[in-house]
Amino acid sequence: MDRRTPAHRAGAQGVAAVRSGSPVRSMLAGSAALVAVLALSLSAVGGTYAMLSSSQQVALVSSTGATSTTITAGTAAIAANGDTIQMTALYPGASRTAEFSVSNTGDTALAVSVDSISGLTAANGLTASVAGASCTAGAPSVASGPLSLTVPAKATATLCLTVAMSTAAPSTAQGLSSGLVVALTGTQP
C-alpha cells in the first residue's frame, strides 16, 4: 500500500517523467531556448530600450489617502511657426534670407535636420538652404542634413532660410512664382 499523499505521488511521477526523457524535459529545454532568444532580442534593441525606459516614479496621494504611481511616456513634436515666407524680386545672382522659428512642443530635446527642400527646379533657377540660427549668425547652411541645432523641450529656436537664384537662371524664370517646402525633422539626440 502506497502510504504517500497524492501530492507526494504526483511529485514522484514528475521526477519519474524527467528521469525518463519525458515531455517535461523537452519543455524545459524549449523554455531555455526561449529565454536565450529573448535575451538576444532585448540586447539587440538595447539602445532604444534605454531611451524608452526613462521613467519617473511619482507617488500620488489622493484625497482619500490612496496612493498610486503613474508612468507616462514622453512625446516628440516639432512645429514650424508663422505664415508662409514671402520673398520677392529674386534675380540671377541674388539671394534672399528669411528667419522663421520652430517650436519643440514635446517632452524631449530634439536635434533638427533638413529632410528636403522641394520646389527647386532648373526652370526657376533657385537653390535653397537652411541654417540653424538667425540669419545674422553666419551659421552653416545646408540644403539637406543635420543642422547644428538642438531645441530643448518646450522651447523655440530661430532658423534662417536662404534662397538664391543662379546666375544662369533661364530668361523664362522672370516673374515666375515658385513654392518651396522645407521639410524638417527633430530627432531625440
Binding site: L40, N104, L126
Partner: protein, 357 residues
C-alpha cells in the same frame, strides 16, 4: 526513427515572436522624432528697360565752306535710360543694321550727362569712344541702374576722317541699350535713326550781274563751258548747283555740279593761261597739272559776302567780264582793288546762296 522533443516547436515559435517584437521595437525611435514643414513663396524679378532720346542721333552732316557756311560735323543728343523692371541691370550698347561704310567713319562718344548735353558741352575725360558700327561700352560711372532708377547719358556722334570719303554716304543703324543680369536675363530699348553725310549745295552768283554760274546747255559732258545765266529757283541737282569737296586737308576744293555725280564732272580751268575758259571735266586725282587745274580756293575778298574763286595751278581768278547771258567764264589775273565799283572787282567777285536740302 527520429525522436522529436515535445514542446520544442512551440518554444521556437514563441522565440521567433519575441525576436520580431525586439526588432520591431527598434522602430520605436520613430516615435521620438517630430516632423514639420515650412513653406516659402518666391517671386522672381523681371528685367525691363526703356530709353528715350536715341532717335535724337538722327543727323545730316555737312562739310560747310569756310567763310560761307559753317560745318556741321557733330550731333549731340541726350539719352535717358530707365530701369523699369525689378532687377538691377548692367547696361551696354549695341548697333545693328547700319552701313559700315559711314558707320565706321562716325565716332560715337558717350558720357554721363551733366548739367548740359548739347553741341557746346565739353566732352569729359570719362567719356567712352566707339563708332556707329561698334558702339562704345558705357562709361564706368553710368553703366548700371537699380530698379526704378535710370541713366542720364549724353551721346555725341562726329564724322571723322576726310569728308570726301564720307560725303554722300548714309546709314540707318538701330542702336540699343541692353540691360543684363545674370547670363540669360536681358532687356533692351532701341531706336533707329538715319545719319547722312550730306553736302552744302550752292548757287554761285556773279555779284555785279546777279546772274549765276551755269553749265551750258545743262550738259555734263567733258568740255562743257560754264556760262553766265539767270539764276534758277534754288534746287539741288540742277546745272546751277555746286558743291565743294575739300582735297585732303588743303585749302583747295573740287567743285562738283548738281547734275553730275560723286564721280564728277568738276570745274577745270582749260589751262593756266589767262583768259582760258572754265569748263566741266572728268576728275583727275593725280598730281598732274590737270589735277591742279581742277582745284580751287574760295577766298573772302572786299565787301562782306564777296568771294573770289582762285585756281590752284595758275592762281588766276574766276572772271566774268560781262553781264550778258551765255558769256563764258574764264580765269584771269586776280585784281587788287577792294573797291566794288572797280571793273576787275566787279568781274571777279561772287556770292554764295546755299540751297536748302
Amino acid at each position: 526513427m527520429t525522436r522529436r522533443i515535445p514542446g520544442l516547436r512551440f518554444s521556437v515559435a514563441v522565440g521567433v515572436v519575441v525576436a520580431l517584437v525586439g526588432i520591431g521595437s527598434g522602430v520605436g525611435v520613430a516615435a521620438w522624432t517630430g516632423a514639420t514643414t515650412k513653406g516659402a513663396a518666391i517671386t522672381a524679378a523681371t528685367a525691363a528697360t526703356s530709353a528715350t532720346g536715341i532717335a535724337g542721333l538722327a543727323a545730316t552732316y555737312k562739310p560747310g565752306l569756310p567763310g560761307v557756311s559753317a560745318a556741321m560735323l557733330t550731333d549731340t543728343a541726350p539719352v535717358t535710360v530707365s530701369n523699369t523692371g525689378s532687377a538691377p541691370l548692367s547696361y551696354s550698347l549695341t548697333a545693328t543694321g547700319g552701313s559700315a561704310a559711314l558707320g565706321n567713319q562716325v565716332t560715337l562718344q558717350v558720357w554721363k550727362a551733366g548739367a548740359t548735353c548739347d553741341v557746346s558741352t565739353v566732352v569729359p575725360s570719362t567719356a567712352t569712344t566707339g563708332n556707329l558700327t561698334t558702339p562704345p561700352a558705357l562709361p564706368a560711372d553710368a553703366n548700371s541702374a537699380a530698379p526704378g532708377t535710370g541713366l542720364s547719358l549724353c551721346f555725341r556722334s562726329s564724322v571723322t576722317g576726310t569728308y570726301s570719303a564720307a560725303g554722300g554716304l548714309s546709314t540707318t543703324p538701330t542702336v540699343a541699350v541692353v540691360g543684363t543680369v545674370g547670363t540669360n536675363w536681358s532687356a533692351s530699348a532701341s531706336a533707329s535713326f538715319t545719319q547722312t553725310a550730306g553736302f552744302n549745295w550752292y548757287e554761285i552768283q556773279h555779284d555785279f550781274s546777279a546772274k549765276c554760274v551755269d553749265a551750258n546747255g545743262g550738259s555734263t559732258a567733258a568740255g562743257t563751258n560754264l556760262i553766265l545765266f539767270p539764276c534758277k529757283p534754288l534746287a539741288v541737282n540742277t546745272n546751277q548747283s555746286y558743291r565743294f569737296s575739300q582735297v585732303g586737308t588743303t585749302a583747295f576744293y573740287r567743285i562738283y555740279i548738281g547734275t553730275g555725280s560723286s564721280a564728277g564732272p568738276v570745274w577745270e580751268a582749260a589751262s593756266a593761261i589767262a583768259g582760258s575758259a572754265v569748263q566741266l571735266n572728268t576728275i583727275d586725282t593725280g598730281t598732274t597739272t590737270k589735277s591742279n587745274n581742277q582745284q580751287w580756293s574760295v577766298v573772302q575778298h572786299g565787301d562782306a559776302g564777296d568771294f573770289r574763286i582762285v585756281n590752284k595751278n595758275s592762281s588766276l581768278c574766276l572772271t566774268m567780264t560781262a553781264s550778258t547771258d551765255n558769256t563764258v567764264f574764264t580765269v584771269t589775273a586776280c585784281g587788287t582793288s577792294l573797291v566794288n565799283t572797280n571793273t576787275a572787282y566787279r568781274a571777279q567777285h561772287f556770292g554764295f546762296v546755299e540751297i536748302p536740302s
